[in-house]
């Protein structure tokens, strides 16, 4: 790739006339997001970190100040106890595992259902494609809360599904469809399916269909062609969609709350409880922080694939 210097583009070298710089839209385009996001996104995250190493205390805020001036002079009240506690107590770890397993399972299901749909929509003629996209987007625009609630209506003891099954004499007593682990998976897949399909579709639509024809022509049967050509070349799209489902689901709180049972505790609920019920902000922060830590790798994968995705 050769660098091109378009006339008018300023090479960043100091000193530059400040007034000129301020007039340049490029300056504001970089500065404004930096200002807002550092202030309202990065610093809050840093705060979580700060509180996660603070010592719990009664009162508001329920933790000791990090830097304190006492009779003995300057004191730093930092501790790693919160982390030690979080990592050593199996209770927390189990909740994290539950959320991880939920995220894995639902991402996989979303992929299996979503890939064919995204693929066929991408392969369709433009007219058909647009219609299908509209139908895919409508659930996406509809409130997710309402959609999860809909499953409650369906799965309850006296919900639609049970009522129908009893009515048709298939079962005598209602099935406990709700308030269990499977209902949660169903709810998650239902909610996050568009998050898998849309980025996948966005990537597949640029797929060179000739490559599939070439594979057929060279003797590969459809299944072989899929695994040897389509799948490998769709990978950036698959990763993008998967990350968009996996990462948020790890911290998912609402769906387990509405559809899940008390048998399983999920990571998001854990943080919520520690914060609102136990009022133990340092622990909650430590939990959140360790969550971020474990998600750093997937987030980095996502951002790497995101660059790849956009390069095509």
């Amino acid at each position: 790739m050769t660098k091109s210097f378009a006339p008018g583009m300023k090479i960043q070298s100091f000193p530059l006339m400040i007034s000129e710089k301020l007039k340049s839209y490029k300056f504001w385009f970089v500065f404004t997001p930096y200002f807002w996001l550092v202030l309202f996104f990065f610093i809050p995250l840093a705060l979580i970190f700060k509180i996660s190493i603070s010592i719990a205390e009664w009162g508001m805020p329920p933790y000791k100040d990090l830097f304190e001036f006492t009779e003995n002079g300057f004191q730093i009240n930092a501790t790693l106890n919160n982390y030690i506690f979080v990592f050593s107590d199996f209770y927390y770890f189990k909740s994290y595992l539950n959320s991880l397993s939920l995220a894995f399972t639902s991402t996989l299901i979303c992929l299996v259902i979503g890939f064919p749909i995204a693929f066929y929509v991408a392969k369709s003629s433009e007219r058909v494609r647009n219609i299908m996209l509209i139908f895919l987007i409508i659930p996406f625009w509809t409130s997710f809360l309402l959609r999860v609630y809909a499953w409650k209506v369906l799965l309850q003891g006296n919900g639609l599904i049970n009522s129908l099954l009893i009515k048709f004499g298939i079962i005598d007593n209602p099935l406990p469809l709700l308030h269990n682990h499977y209902a949660v998976i169903l709810g998650v897949v239902y909610t996050y399916l568009p998050f898998m399909i849309l980025p996948l579709y966005g990537y597949l639509v640029k797929f060179d269909l000739n490559l599939i024809d070439a594979a057929y022509d060279l003797g590969a049967k459809p299944i072989k062609a899929f695994f040897k050509v389509i799948l490998p070349l769709s990978l950036p799209g698959i990763v993008a969609g998967s990350m968009l489902v996996f990462i948020p689901v790890v911290g998912e709180f609402v769906i387990p709350e509405m559809l899940g049972g008390s048998d399983r505790l999920y990571f998001g609920k854990m943080i919520w409880e520690e914060f609102f019920q136990n009022r133990d902000w340092p622990i909650a922060s430590a939990l959140a922080m360790s969550g971020i830590l474990f998600l750093v790798v997937p987030i980095l994968i996502f951002q790497k694939q995101y660059e790849k995705y956009n390069l095509k």
Binding site: D213, Y216, D217, G219, A220, L233
Partner: protein
């Protein structure tokens, strides 16, 4: 290079897309080891026909029979033919070697045999040094050779090529033309080339089919199609055509009013229209004393000159007609004899007149 055997029979193939007729009862018989071209401008149906032969489209009517086998209902991966796509369709995630290997893996041959065939192809197409390279690291011309190698290792009975020279620059095009012809001759594989470039078709083919709007207008050797085109469209499509009208005058002699000349033709002109190719017209400076109306001779003015090195194109104008004359520059002259606005005499032979249909 051709035997009398009909190797590929395209029998009454029709195809519609919605209400557009892409192919209308198209029939062609192609001989074994022939290099055959489908020539036509875009929308004529040549690409559709190619895709039907390859198996990516199903015809609404008609059969395709290859070497005695009816392949019409076979999916593409079961047909003993291969296609080289216009954009090559090389697999970006595989290197050169693996691209070529792809088709062979499906055939379940012995490992040694596979290696042998690939090396054969690599050598034949001079790709050995590039085997490990990624597709995006090689040039367009090299990519084409990989696409070709990928097909050839499967030893297909028939090779389809979709606009093989379109993406190449002029020098490379000429070189590739020769290479393709040589390759085909060497291997004896039947080739079908789809192209919109009539020069390409003429230089490569043993025989060609000229297509328009889903129909085949004429099938013949390049000479036949050029010298004896089936109608005015074909005459204009292939090379440059000068078409003139004649009527019989009082003495039953053929006369062209636009040229102001009598026409003496070796062949009868039933449609009162004839074709006279530009290279068959002699041109020389007008000398005083020439008669105005002669037979197979006319007087005109030079309106445009395009000097192309080996020959010169002249655009000649009479009172009512404009036509082209191409003259070889047999002798080197410091100042070209004929200049703009010169008055000239154009003459031609009675055998050069070809009666043309509408």
């Amino acid at each position: 290079m051709s035997s009398n055997e009909d190797f590929l029979i395209i029998d009454n193939i029709s195809k519609r897309f919605d209400d557009v007729v892409a192919l209308d009862k198209v029939s062609v018989k192609i001989k074994r080891s022939e290099l055959f071209s489908l020539l036509g401008s875009s929308g004529c149906g040549k690409s559709t026909l190619l895709r039907i032969i390859a198996g990516f489209e199903k015809p609404d009517e008609g059969r395709i029979i290859l070497d005695g086998q009816d392949i019409t209902d076979l999916p593409p991966y079961l047909r003993p033919l291969n296609i080289m796509f216009q954009n090559y369709a090389l697999f970006p995630h595989l290197n050169v070697y693996k691209n070529i290997e792809f088709g062979l893996k499906e055939e379940k041959l012995e490992k040694n045999l596979i290696e042998e065939r690939i090396n054969e192809a690599l050598t034949l197409l001079e790709l050995s040094a590039l085997q490990k390279r990624k597709i995006n690291e090689i040039s367009g011309g090299q990519q084409q050779r990989v696409a070709l190698a990928r097909c050839l290792v499967k030893k297909p009975k028939l090779l389809l090529l979709d606009e093989p020279l379109a993406a190449l620059d002029k020098k490379l095009r000429i070189q590739t033309q020769f290479e393709l012809v040589n390759l085909q001759f060497k291997l004896g594989i039947t080739f079908i080339i789809v192209t919109h470039d009539q020069e390409e078709a003429m230089s490569l083919s043993d025989r060609m089919a000229v297509m328009q709007q889903g129909n085949i207008l004429q099938i013949g050797t390049p000479v036949e199609v050029y010298e004896t085109p089936g109608n005015e469209y074909i005459a204009n499509f292939i090379g440059t055509a000068n078409i003139f009208e004649v009527n019989k005058n009082q003495d039953s002699k053929l006369y062209s009013s636009t040229l102001n000349a009598f026409i003496n033709s070796a062949k009868a002109i039933p449609t009162n229209k004839f074709l006279l190719r530009p290279e068959k017209i002699e041109i020389s400076k007008f000398k005083e004393g020439e008669e105005k109306t002669q037979t197979n001779k006319c007087i005109g003015t030079v309106k445009e000159i395009a000097y192309l090195g080996s020959y010169t194109k002249y655009l000649i104008k009479t009172d009512k007609a404009t036509f082209y004359v191409f003259q070889q520059n047999k002798f080197f002259t410091e100042n070209l004899n004929i200049k703009w606005d010169d008055k000239v005499i154009c003459s031609w032979n009675e055998n050069s007149i070809f009666p043309i249909n509408d």
